[in-house]
Amino acid sequence: MSSSYEARFKVWRGDIQGGDLEDFTVEVNDGEVVLDIVHRLQATQAPDLAVRWNCKAGKCGSCSAEINGRPRLMCMTRMSVFTREETITVTPLRTFPVIRDLVTDVGFNYQKAREVPAFVPPEGVGPGEYRMFQEDVDRSQEFRKCIECFLCQDTCHVVRDHEENKQAFAGPRFLMRVAELDMHPLDAAAESGLDRKATAQDEHGLGYCNITKCCTEVCPEHIKITDNALIPLKERAVDRKYDPLVWLGSKIGRRSK
């Protein structure tokens, strides 16, 4: 197999004023990924083509885009998964406002990150005195593999197809953050009067999730977002809000206090 060929690309170029898919023919060499091709376009044909990237090894989550309509990391999409005849379409993430070319304004995610109350350290346990067991940290550790590429936020139809839901819905990444903290063995939110289980639904929009699993499908870290974070969080919310026994227990508990 010859190692080099010319591939046809369509890359969205433009900004908030408008834009279009632009055609390129560009050299592709053996072993390259889509991000390499975008870099070649920059170096040879379109020096001002805007793209975000960093580590180029699937660890920082910067180069998120949509390739042939699917949310992917450009650095983790090998050219060998396409046929040579195929035209490869690269567009910016379509859930967030576009800034320029392949770069979008992902500020939504940073705003949502701020709305999730931080880890609450347990009282009376000093630095160095934390004792946690591996089986107790496993679950939250899985969620902390998240590289914040925001592909799950991009693909989630709750906000992708319904701009108006952005206000009420934190998105899979930040609901997973709520789950991570609720499962953290030493998080003392409950003691401080913060019920993460109930607020997941009341304040972060857990109810909008209809568990259609696109977040899990696109996750480059292969985190089981739906099965291990969102559904368990829904069950925890049920404990708080729809379980008559628990409800009764909490009523009695509150009265006896």
Partner: protein
């Protein structure tokens, strides 16, 4: 491919004003419609079949086999099944097929199941039809309000499903009889029932609510080693929840169909001993 050259008027979703001006609702080039279409077709086929069988009110018992659709049988109009799952809780006023009474529970269990929800939201409701494919609805509130907020009762259907699975286990034990109700026999139907009950249990126990109740709700596994083990076991099953959901759906229909064939006299149950 048609693309916009200026920002769209507010047509919503991926074509909202601030987003990249691309007219196509999606740019996927693969056969993304295949999975939801297959899901919808499969579920539809089962609904048609089960509706027919549930309302048929006939051919559901061929000693020693009782159709899982009619077990337990809770009305007076049930056929007398020797040693079988008869329990006249409803009395004589119930006029239509007794299957309707009991099917509510397994049906509710599956209807509120986290896997089936995904399947029919995608397959029937196109919400979304596939990942990154725009859904056709103007508004979306998910499971935040009536009626879909009722999906939260899944765990109560799970409890009911445990009872149903228990009854079906009892029915499977009964298949070790012959048509004269003598113990120590086996036929082809016994194998069908065995396969079905294994899949029913596997599906029921792999339920997300079960995983939560067994141990998922705990904050410190290290303080509950037994429940931790149970949680891990359920977790391994849970990873195959979709597979088990389909397998048990097919097997329960198969078990019913087998009873139908024998009861309606299409063929005789081959006996091993």
């Amino acid at each position: 491919m048609a693309t916009g050259t200026e920002p769209h008027l507010n047509s919503g979703g991926v074509r909202s004003p601030a987003r990249a001006a691309i007219a196509a609702p999606h740019l996927r080039t693969d056969r993304w419609w295949l999975a939801p279409a297959a899901t919808a077709a499969g579920l539809f086929a089962f609904v048609v079949y089960s509706t027919w069988r549930a309302f048929a009110n006939a051919d559901y018992y061929a000693a020693p086999y009782v159709s899982p659709f009619y077990s337990p049988c809770l009305a007076r109009n049930c056929r007398e099944m020797a040693g079988g799952p008869n329990a006249d809780l409803f009395g004589g006023w119930w006029g239509i097929s007794p299957a309707i009474i009991i099917l509510i529970f397994p049906l509710g269990f599956r209807l509120t199941c986290y896997y089936y929800r995904k399947a029919y939201y995608r397959g029937f409701w196109a919400s979304p039809p596939a990942c990154a494919v725009a859904e056709p609805h103007k508004k979306y509130t998910g499971e935040t309000r009536f009626p879909l907020i009722l999906q939260n009762v899944h765990r109560y259907f799970f409890y009911a499903a445990l009872l149903v699975a228990g009854t079906l286990t009892y029915d499977t034990v009964l298949t070790f009889r012959d048509s004269q109700h003598r113990w120590g026999h086996m036929g082809l139907g016994t194998l069908v029932f065995l396969l079905n009950i294994v899949l029913i249990w596997a599906y029921t126990l792999s339920c997300h609510s079960c995983r939560h109740i067994v141990g998922g709700k705990l904050k410190h596994f290290s303080q509950h080693p037994v429940r931790y083990r149970a949680w891990q076991f359920v977790g391994r099953l849970n990873a195959r929840h979709m597979l088990l959901a389909w397998a048990s759906l097919v097997s329960v229909a198969l078990a019913d169909f087998y009873v139908y064939l024998v009861a309606s006299g299409v063929f005789d149950d081959p006996r091993f001993f």
